[in-house]
Symmetry: C2
Subunit: 725 residues, 2 copies
C-alpha cells in the first residue's frame, strides 16, 4: 500500500511545483495598458469558449455517466466522472496559465530572448506538471480508495473485476472529454486562424494580427483553447489510459501471484510515473540558452536531463516494487503445458511469457528503457521532419519557388514519408519489449513513455504562449525586435507541438496493443465458451480491419470540412462588421471582437459533436451488425479487428498530418527568415498556401486521431462488460 501512497505524494509534488511556478510566472511584468487590454480580451474569449464547451460536454457526460452506471454499476460511473472532471480541470488550468503568460512573455521578450523563453517555458512547465500530476493522482487515489478504504481484494475474481471496470471507467471519462476538447478546440483555433487570414490578409489586405481585423482576438483565443487546453486534455487522457491499461492488463494476465505481490506489480506503473515527475521537474530547471542562443538546444538540455535521470529513478522504483530484480514473475517457470495441472490458465501463462518462460524485474526495467529510447527517437525524428535546419522543411521551402502547386505536392510527399521512421521505431520497440517480457514488456514500455509526459507537455505548451506573445506584440505595436524574438521562439514551438503529437500517437500504438490484449483477455473471462477466431484467415477479421482503418479517414474528412465551414462563417461575420461600420477599417472605431469569438465558439461546439460520436458508436454498430449476420463469435472477432484497424490506419493518418503540417508551417517561417526571396515574394505566397493547408491537418484532424483510437478501444471494453452483465 505504501507504494501507492508514495505515488500520490509524488503526484502532489507536481501540483505544488505547478502552484509555485505559476506564481513566478504571474509575478513577471505584464507590459503596458494596451498589452493588458489585448490580453484581457483573449483571456475573456478563451474562458467564454471553455465555459460553453464544458457545459456542452457536461450534458453529454451526464447522459453517458447514467448509461455507464446502469450497465456497469456505480463504481465504474464514479471512475468515469473522476476521469472526465480531472481531464477538464487539466485543460482549464493549462488554458488559464497560458492566457496570463502570453502577455508576460511579450513583455519579457522586450528585455531579451532568454527572458522571453523563461516566462514562456515556465508557463508550459506548469501545464506539463499539472497534466502529469493530476493524471497520476487520478489513478493512484482512485486505486487507493478501491483497494484501501473499500478493501476490494485483487485475488477475489469478482472484486478484481470491480477494480478493473472502475479503472476502465476512469479511462473512458478522460478519453471522452479529451476527444471533445481536442476536436472542439482544434476546430475553433483553425477556423479562426484560416478565417482571419482569408478575410484579413487576402480580402482586406491587412497584415496578420492587425487589430482592425475583428477575427484577430478569436485567432489568439484559438491558440489557448486548441493548442493548450485541447492538448492538455489529450495528454491527460493518454497518460490515464496508458497507465490504467497497464494496470488492467496486469490484473487480467497475472493470475499466479499472491495478493500483495500482485498489488506491488500493479502499483509499479504509478511509482514509475511518480519518480519521473521528480526527474521532469529537475529537467525544467536546465532549460537555458547557451552561448549559441540555440532555443531547440535549450529545450533539449531539459529533456535529456530528465531522460537520463529517469534511468536510475525507474530502476529504483522497480526495485522498490518488486524486490529481487531477477526473480521470475508471471509464468514462474511453469510451462504452458503443465499449467493446467497446477490450476493456472495456460492461455494467460503463454500470453505473459511471450516467447520465453516468465519475465523478471530486470526484463521490465529494460522494457521501460526501450520506452525511453522510443520517446527520444520520436522527438529526434519529428525535429528532423519539422525543423527548419533539415532537408524536409527546406525541400518544401525550395519547391515554393515554383508555385503553390509544387509547395503542396512536396508537403504531401514529406507528410507521407514522415510516417516511415516512427513506424519502424515503434515496430522495433514492439519486437524488443515483447522478446523481453511478452505483452507486459510492451505495456511497461508504453508506461515509461508516458512517464515523461510532464516534460514533453512542458515543451509543447510553451509554443502557444509564444505564438500569442507574438500576436500581442504585433497588436500592441511593440518594437519589431520583440516580434522577431517571439517568432524565433514560435518556430521552435511548431516543432515541439509536432513532437507531442508524434509522441502521443506513438505511445497510442503501444497502448492500443495493450488495450487489445485487455479486450481478448476480457473476452475469455466473460465468454469462456465462445470460440472467437482473431486469425487473419477469418474474413470477419478482415472486415473489422477495413472498417477500423476507415474511421480515421472519415474522422479526418469531417474535421477538415468542419474547419472549412466554420472559417466561412468567420469570413461572413467579418465582412458584415466591415460593412456595418466603416470606422473599423479606418481605425477610428473598435471592431466587436467578442461577437466573432462567440460565433466561432458556437460553430466549433456544433461541429465537434458528430465526429466525436463516430468512435463511440462505430464499435457498437459493427458488433451488433456482424453478430446479426454471422453470429456472436464473428461479431467479437470483427470488433477486435476494428480496434486494431483503427490504430494501424490511425497511426499513419495522424503522423503524416501532424508532421506534414509542422513542416509546411516552418517552411513558411524559413522563407520569412529571408530565404528563397523572403517575405512578400512569390515563394512566400506559395508557402502561405502550404501553411493554410497544414493548419487543419496538424491542429484539428491529426491530433484528434489519438483520443479517437483510445475511445474506440475503451468503448469495446465497456461493451464487453455490459454484454456480460
Amino acid at each position: 500500500m505504501e507504494l501507492v501512497i508514495i505515488s500520490i505524494a509524488l503526484g502532489l509534488v507536481a501540483v505544488i511545483y505547478g502552484i509555485i511556478t505559476s506564481r513566478q510566472v504571474l509575478k513577471a511584468g505584464d507590459g503596458n495598458d494596451r498589452m493588458r487590454e489585448i490580453a484581457g480580451a483573449v483571456q475573456e474569449g478563451a474562458q467564454a469558449y471553455l465555459k460553453r464547451q464544458y457545459t456542452t460536454i457536461a450534458i453529454v457526460g451526464v447522459v453517458v455517466a447514467v448509461i455507464v452506471a446502469y450497465f456497469l454499476g456505480v463504481i465504474s460511473a464514479a471512475g468515469f466522472v473522476v476521469g472526465a472532471l480531472l481531464s477538464g480541470v487539466a485543460g482549464f488550468i493549462g488554458m488559464n496559465i497560458s492566457v496570463r503568460a502570453n502577455v508576460r512573455t511579450a513583455a519579457a521578450a522586450q528585455s531579451g530572448l532568454q527572458q522571453g523563453l523563461t516566462v514562456a517555458f515556465r508557463a508550459g512547465a506548469v501545464t506539463g506538471m499539472l497534466v502529469a500530476g493530476l493524471a497520476l493522482l487520478a489513478i493512484a487515489v482512485f486505486f487507493w480508495v478501491l483497494t484501501g478504504p473499500m478493501a476490494l481484494d485483487l485475488t477475489v475474481q469478482a472484486e478484481k473485476r470491480e477494480v478493473i471496470d472502475a479503472l476502465v471507467g476512469l479511462a473512458f471519462g478522460a478519453s471522452l472529454i479529451s476527444i471533445f476538447a481536442r476536436l472542439g478546440g482544434g476546430i475553433f483555433t483553425k477556423a479562426a486562424d484560416v478565417g482571419a487570414d482569408l478575410v484579413g490578409k487576402v480580402e482586406a489586405g491587412i497584415p496578420e494580427d492587425d487589430p482592425r481585423n475583428p477575427a484577430t482576438i478569436a485567432d489568439n483565443v484559438g491558440d489557448n483553447v486548441g493548442d493548450c487546453a485541447g492538448m492538455a486534455a489529450d495528454l491527460f487522457e493518454t497518460y490515464v489510459v496508458t497507465v490504467g491499461a497497464t494496470m488492467v492488463l496486469t490484473a487480467l494476465l497475472i493470475t499466479n501471484l499472491a495478493s500483495d505481490e500482485l498489488f506491488a506489480l500493479m502499483s509499479l506503473p504509478l511509482l514509475v510515473g511518480g519518480v519521473c515527475i521528480v526527474t521532469s521537474i529537475i529537467g525544467t530547471y536546465l532549460v537555458r540558452l547557451g552561448k549559441s542562443n540555440n532555443i531547440m538546444g535549450a529545450l533539449y538540455k531539459g529533456f535529456i536531463t530528465t531522460a537520463v535521470l529517469s534511468v536510475p529513478a525507474i530502476y529504483l522504483a522497480t526495485t522498490m516494487a518488486l524486490g529481487d530484480m531477477n526473480a521470475v514473475i508471471g509464468g514462474v517457470g511453469i510451462a504452458a503445458e503443465t499449467a493446467v495441472e497446477v490450476g493456472v490458465d495456460p492461455a494467460s501463462v503463454e500470453a505473459v511469457e511471450g516467447v520465453a518462460g516468465g519475465f523478471t524485474g530486470m526484463d521490465l526495467f529494460w522494457s521501460m528503457m526501450v520506452g525511453l529510447i522510443v520517446t527520444g527517437l520520436i522527438i529526434w525524428i519529428t525535429e528532423y521532419y519539422t525543423g527548419t535546419g533539415y532537408r524536409p522543411v527546406r525541400s518544401i521551402a525550395k519547391s515554393s519557388e515554383t508555385g503553390h502547386g509544387t509547395n503542396v505536392i512536396q508537403g504531401l510527399a514529406i507528410s507521407l514519408e514522415s510516417t516511415a521512421l516512427p513506424t519502424l521505431v515503434i515496430v522495433i520497440g514492439i519486437i524488443v519489449t515483447y522478446q523481453l517480457a511478452g505483452l507486459m514488456g510492451i505495456a511497461f514500455a508504453a508506461t515509461a513513455m508516458l512517464a515523461l509526459a510532464g516534460m514533453v507537455v512542458a515543451l509543447d505548451a510553451y509554443g502557444p504562449v509564444t505564438d500569442n506573445a507574438g500576436g500581442i506584440a504585433e497588436m500592441a505595436e511593440l518594437d519589431e525586435t520583440v516580434r522577431e524574438k517571439t517568432d524565433a521562439l514560435d518556430a521552435v514551438g511548431n516543432t515541439t507541438k509536432a513532437v507531442t503529437k508524434g509522441y502521443a500517437i506513438g505511445s497510442a500504438g503501444l497502448a492500443a496493443l495493450v488495450l487489445f490484449s485487455a479486450y481478448t483477455a476480457d473476452l475469455v473471462e466473460f465468454f469462456p465458451a465462445l470460440d472467437v477466431s482473431f486469425s487473419l484467415e477469418n474474413p470477419y477479421v478482415i472486415v473489422g480491419l477495413l472498417l477500423g482503418a476507415l474511421l480515421p479517414y472519415l474522422f479526418g474528412a469531417m474535421g477538415m470540412t468542419a474547419v472549412g465551414r466554420a472559417a466561412g462563417d468567420v469570413v461572413k461575420d467579418v465582412r458584415a462588421q466591415f460593412a456595418a461600420d466603416s470606422g473599423i477599417m479606418a481605425g477610428t472605431s473598435r471592431p466587436d471582437y467578442a461577437r466573432t469569438v462567440d460565433l466561432v465558439t458556437k460553430a466549433a461546439i456544433k461541429e465537434m459533436i458528430l465526429p466525436s460520436m463516430l468512435p463511440v458508436l462505430a464499435p457498437i454498430v459493427v458488433y451488433f451488425v456482424i453478430t446479426l449476420v454471422a453470429g456472436q463469435a464473428n461479431g467479437f472477432a470483427a470488433l477486435g479487428a476494428l480496434l486494431l484497424g483503427v490504430i494501424i490506419s490511425g497511426i499513419f493518418v495522424a503522423l503524416s498530418m501532424t508532421a506534414g503540417g509542422g513542416a509546411w508551417d516552418n517552411a513558411k517561417k524559413y522563407i520569412e527568415d529571408g530565404n528563397h526571396g523572403g517575405k512578400g515574394s512569390e515563394a512566400h505566397k506559395a508557402a502561405v498556401t502550404g501553411d493554410t493547408v497544414g493548419d487543419p491537418y496538424k491542429d484539428t484532424a491529426g491530433p484528434a486521431v489519438n483520443p479517437m483510437i483510445k475511445i474506440t478501444n475503451i468503448v469495446a471494453l465497456l461493451l464487453l462488460a455490459a454484454l456480460a452483465s
Copy 2:
C-alpha cells in the same frame, strides 16, 4: 478441355474485334498537315519512351526470370516470361492506337460531338478488348498447354503444384511489368504536365499546349504512355492476377473432386471471362449520345448493357461448367469434424465451406452477381465524387473562391471522405459472398468484377485520346468550338479514369484476400509441421500489419517526390532552350521537342526503379529479419500480416488519391465552364493549384498502389515456394 478451348476462342474474338475496330479508327480523317505533324511528334515521342522503358524492364525481367527459373523451375519462369511479354504488348498496343486516334478525334470533333466521341471511344474499346482478350488468352492458353499437351494431372499433388507455380509465375510477370509501366508512365506524364505548366503558364505566361513551349509535346506524349500504356498494363495485370488467383485457390482448396470436375471448376473463371468479352463488345455498340447530348449517359448505356447481358451469360457459363447448379461442391456435405475420418483435410473443408456446409453452382452464380453489383456501385460512387454535377466537386470549386489554401483543404477533405462508400461496398461484398460460398465466393466475385474489364478499360482509355485531341486542336489552332467539344469529352474522361482506378483497387481488395488464402494454404502444404499463428493476438502479426501499412505511404512519397524532381528537370531544360534561342518565344524558330521528351524519358526511367523494388524486396526482408529474431513461424506470420497490411492501408491511400485528384481536376473544369468567375478569375487560379496537386496524386502515386499490392502478395507466394524447394 472444351471449356478452355471455348475460352480461348472467345479471347480470339476480342483480338479480332480489336483489329477490325482499329481499322475503322484508322480510316477516319486525320486532319490537316499541321495536325498530322503534331500528332507525328507525339507518336514518335511515345514510341521512343516505350522503347526505352521496355529495354530497361527487359534487363530487370531477364534477371528476375533467371532467378525464378533457378528457384522454381523452368515452367514457372516460362509463365513469368509470358506474363511479362503480354503485359508489355497490351501497353504497347494501347499506346499505339491512342497516338493515332488523338488526331482523328480532333478532326472528327470538327464535324460534331457524336463524331468525336465515336472515334475516341472506338480507340478506347480497342485497348479495352485487347487488354481483356490478351489477358484471357495468356491464362487460358497457358493452362491449356499445361493440362493438355503437357498432360499435367491436377489430382496428382506434384503435378498440380507445377500448374499452380506456373500460374503464379505468369501473374508475377504481369505484375512486375505493370508496376514499372504504371509508375514510369505516371512519373513521365505528370513530370511533363507539371513541368510544362510551371515553365510555360507561370514563368513565360503562355497558354497550355502552346506550340512555343518545348515541353508541350512531352505533355501530350505523357497522356499516351501514362494514362494509356501504363493503365493498360495495370489492368492486364489485375485481370491475370485475379483470374489466376481464383484458379490457384480452387486447386489448393478443393481436394475432394474428381480430375474432370476439378478441371471444370478451374476453367469456370476463364469461361466467365470469355462470355463477358462478348457482352462487352455488344455494349460498345450502344455508346451513343441521346437527345440530351449527355456524354456520361452515353457511356453508361454501354456499360449497363454489358452488365445486364452478363447476368444470363454468366449463368450460362456456370451451367456449362458445372452442370447441375444445385449440386453441392467442396465440402459435399461433410462436416469438418468428420472430414478427418474420410481422409479430407478438415482445414480445407472449413475454409471452403465458410459458414454453411459446402456450396453450389447457384452460390457461385450469386457471388458473381455480387461482383457485378460491386462494380456498378463503385462506378456510381466514383462518378458522384468526381463528376461536375455533384456536391464534392462543386464544394471544391466553391472553396476556390477564398483562395488556394481552402481549395486544397476542401480537396483533401473530399479525398479522405471518398474512401468511405467504396470501403463499405467492398466490406458488404466480402460478407455476402463469404456467406454464400466461403472463400470461393469472394474469389468468384472478384473474377466477375474483372470479367467486365474490357468495357471498363474502354471507358477509361477514351479519356487520354480526347485529352490529346484537345492539345492537338490547341496547337494546330483549330476553331475554338473544337476545343470546347474535346474539353467536354475530356471532363467525362477525368471521371472514367478515376472509375477504372477505383475499380482496380476495389477488385484488388477482394483479390488480395484470395492471394492471402493461397498463401496460407501454401504454407500448410509446404510446412505442415509449422504452427503459424495469424491471430491478431500475436505481436508479430501486428508488426507485419504495421510494416505492410507503411508500404503504400512510402511508395506514395517516393512517387510524389519523383514527379517533383523530374518536373524540375523539365523546367531547367525549357529555360535553357528559351535562353539559347530567342526565336522560340518569338515564334520564328521551332523548339527542340525531342530533347525535352528524351529528358523526361530518362528521368522517368531512373525514378521508377527504386520505388518498384520496394514491394519486391519488402516481403523478403521482413520474412528473414523476423525469422532471425523470433523464429520461422513468426517470420511467416509477419509476412502474411504484411500482405494484408498492404491492402488495408493501400486501398485507402489509392482510393483517396485517385478520387481526390479527379475531383480537383473537374473542379477546375467546372470553373472553366463559367462558374465562380470562370477562366482567369482568382477562383480559377486556386483551382489550377488544386489540379496540379491532384496530378501526381491521381496519375502517379495512387494508381501504382494497385500493382504494388499484388506484387507484394505474389513475391510472398514465390518466396514460400522457393523456401520449400
